[in-house]
């Protein structure tokens, strides 16, 4: 039990930081209801025109749909590769495990802009060979996102495996289970929450990826973040405020529901 609780001063300072953290998320709301064409606050008159614009302009829906598809491909691909890799490290414990891990972590540790330039080089080179996987294509973006999010999947799955008791695997093997049975019927079912977390995180990271996407797309593969970026750079389009409100509401709901579920589980125990 914590005996020394933070005092009044500490509480006030922390509250200020909390306000600072939430401030920009709340500021979006009055801007999204403005009747004006530019970024301004809704005064006496509130308007839904910018929410309407999200529906009327098919580009927004196309961006959302493209981002969902890219997120699905990238997260499935990255999680599958990361699961095989982490399993390999866990089962084999190769002498060069540190080196392999270092390579797998590289896209996460390197500055995003360097990764972006690297993937730009990769995709423009591929474009010279084919039209399917390359610069400004669906598959190109999905592959680039898979590179960027794979390290996060490796981290989550490795953590899940490190909490798994090796004796379960040893028992399965001593009872004559082959490699396939051990992996698919013993190990993977035991780390299913880690795999689920990896899929979820990699999907979210791909869904909101913008740093690399800016380098590797121009007019064809316009993901939702790319679309928002175009509306943010020069003349600020208040439709961005409307979509931001929607995104913030979704995230807040998911986090709140998750916290409520956790509280209930704790209460039941």
């Amino acid at each position: 039990m914590t005996v020394l609780r933070p005092g009044l001063l500490a509480t006030i300072l922390a509250a200020l930081v909390a306000v600072f953290l939430l401030m920009p998320l709340i500021a979006v709301v009055p801007v999204s209801f403005t009747p004006g064409r530019n970024l301004s606050m809704a005064g006496d008159e509130w308007s839904l025109r910018h929410y309407r614009a999200l529906i009327d302009n098919p580009a927004w829906l196309q961006g959302v749909w493209l981002s969902v598809r890219i997120g699905l491909v990238a997260s499935l691909f990255a999680t599958a590769l990361a699961a095989a890799f982490s399993l390999g490290i866990w089962m084999l414990q190769p002498r060069l495990a540190g080196l392999y891990m270092g390579i797998a972590m590289l896209p996460m540790v390197a500055p995003p802009v360097v990764s972006a330039l690297t993937l730009y080089f990769f995709l423009t080179s591929l474009s010279q060979w084919n039209g399917v996987i390359g610069y400004d294509t669906f598959m190109g973006v999905a592959l680039a996102h898979a590179v960027m999010v794979a390290p996060f999947a490796v981290v989550l799955i490795t953590v899940a495996l490190s909490q798994l008791d090796r004796r379960i695997d040893l028992a399965a093997r001593s009872m004559g289970a082959g490699l396939g049975q051990r992996v698919f019927r013993v190990i993977l079912p035991n780390i299913r929450f880690g795999l689920g977390a990896a899929l979820f995180l990699t999907f979210v990271l791909s869904w909101e990826e913008i740093g690399v996407t800016l380098f590797i797309t121009s007019v064809n593969a316009v993901t939702l973040p790319r679309m928002m970026w175009m509306g943010l750079r020069d003349n600020i389009d208040p439709a961005i405020a409307a979509i931001s409100v929607l995104l913030i509401v979704i995230v807040a709901l998911v986090v709140l529901i998750r916290t409520a579920v956790q509280l209930r589980q704790k209460g039941d125990m």
């Binding site: 914590t2 005996v3 020394l4 609780r5 933070p6 500490a10 509480t11 922390a14 930081v17 909390a18 600072f20 953290l21 401030m23 920009p24 998320l25 500021a27 801007v31 970024l39 301004s40 606050m41 590769l81 990361a82 095989a84 890799f85 390999g88 490290i89 084999l92 392999y100 390579i103 540790v109 390197a110 500055p111 995003p112 802009v113 360097v114 990764s115 690297t118 993937l119 730009y120 080089f121 990769f122 080179s125 680039a144 898979a146 590179v147 794979a150 490796v154 090796r166 490699l179 800016l214 380098f215 928002m228 970026w229 750079r233 931001s244 913030i248 995230v251 998911v254 986090v255 709140l256």
Partner: protein
């Protein structure tokens, strides 16, 4: 060659099994080698061949006044952002780890909700808050506090605010794990010996969380160096950082060789920084 598995038991099964297990490692490593390592070598080649062979672009990157001023501004802003984000993170983590149950819950939501919201939405939130017709300036003028709008974005102030906001949650996690390991009995002993609350905090608690502070500062600083989106939106092209300079040199006024050279320098700098800290961490661990 016989191999040992994790528990030191000799594997006597056939070589096929060993190879099939190496097949687990291969796909990701091959994928990253093809899609990341090889292209990075390509970027390195750009840096020494474009526009002409030689190390000229590295010379430019390290002597051109424009590039140097951008590097200097990046280091300055990142240092400021690191100090601010870790200080703010420390304040809120203190309540998250040591507050009452309801306070903990509230603080957790304040940290997690912004953490899961994308960098673009958060940067836009600051535009909505700080721009000329944004919330702060509109309220300020309506209440008569401001005669005319303050310029709060499209300058360094906006960049620093946006970056600090983005990075606070990243500072919180290492700080929280350090604060959770603080032994309660040491604090009680300090109190028992008559130390004031302020003294317990500054002379006992803060030194005991030093490793967390150090880890948080490193993480935030490394993240901040590669920042692109927040400075580009909140700086409005007036306060260009290194990452945005690379983007400009690729897409706006092309000079691919220079962009590649700056990228290689950046990669080296961050690798060096990480290596130094690992050595430092080992040194203090002994």
């Amino acid at each position: 060659m016989p191999r040992r598995n994790g528990r030191g038991i000799l594997l006597t099964r056939g070589g096929i099994m060993l190879r099939s297990r190496l097949l687990l490692l291969a796909p990701l490593l091959m994928f990253l080698a093809l899609a990341y390592l090889l292209p990075f070598l390509g970027v390195m080649r750009w840096s020494v061949t474009l526009p002409e062979p030689g190390l000229g672009q590295y010379g430019t990157a390290l002597s051109d006044p424009l590039v140097l001023s951008v590097i200097w501004r990046t280091v300055r802003i990142c240092a400021l952002v690191t100090v601010l984000a870790v200080a703010a993170g420390y304040m809120i983590t203190l309540l998250w780890v040591r507050g009452g149950p309801w306070m903990r819950l509230f603080v957790e939501l304040c940290i997690l909700i912004p953490f899961w919201i994308s960098v673009l939405t958060r940067a836009f939130g600051w535009l909505a808050m700080l721009s000329n017709r944004g919330v702060l300036n509109t309220w300020g003028q309506d209440l008569g506090l401001l005669a005319e709008p303050l310029t709060l974005v499209r300058n360094e102030f906006g960049v620093v605010i946006g970056m600090v906001h983005f990075l606070i949650p990243f500072a919180v996690f290492p700080l929280a794990s350090a604060m959770r390991t603080v032994d309660e009995r040491v604090l009680l002993a300090a109190r028992g010996m008559g130390a004031s609350r302020a003294r317990i905090f500054w002379q006992v608690f803060v030194p005991m969380t030093r490793s967390g502070i150090f880890g948080a500062m490193l993480l935030v600083f490394v993240f901040a160096l590669g920042f692109f989106v927040t400075p580009a939106i909140l700086g409005g092209g007036r306060s260009v950082l290194v990452a945005e300079l690379i983007w400009l040199r690729i897409f706006q006024s092309p000079d691919w060789g220079l962009a590649a050279a700056i990228s290689v320098i950046m990669m080296l700098a961050i690798g060096l920084l990480l290596m130094l800290t690992m050595r430092f961490a080992k040194g203090t661990g002994r």
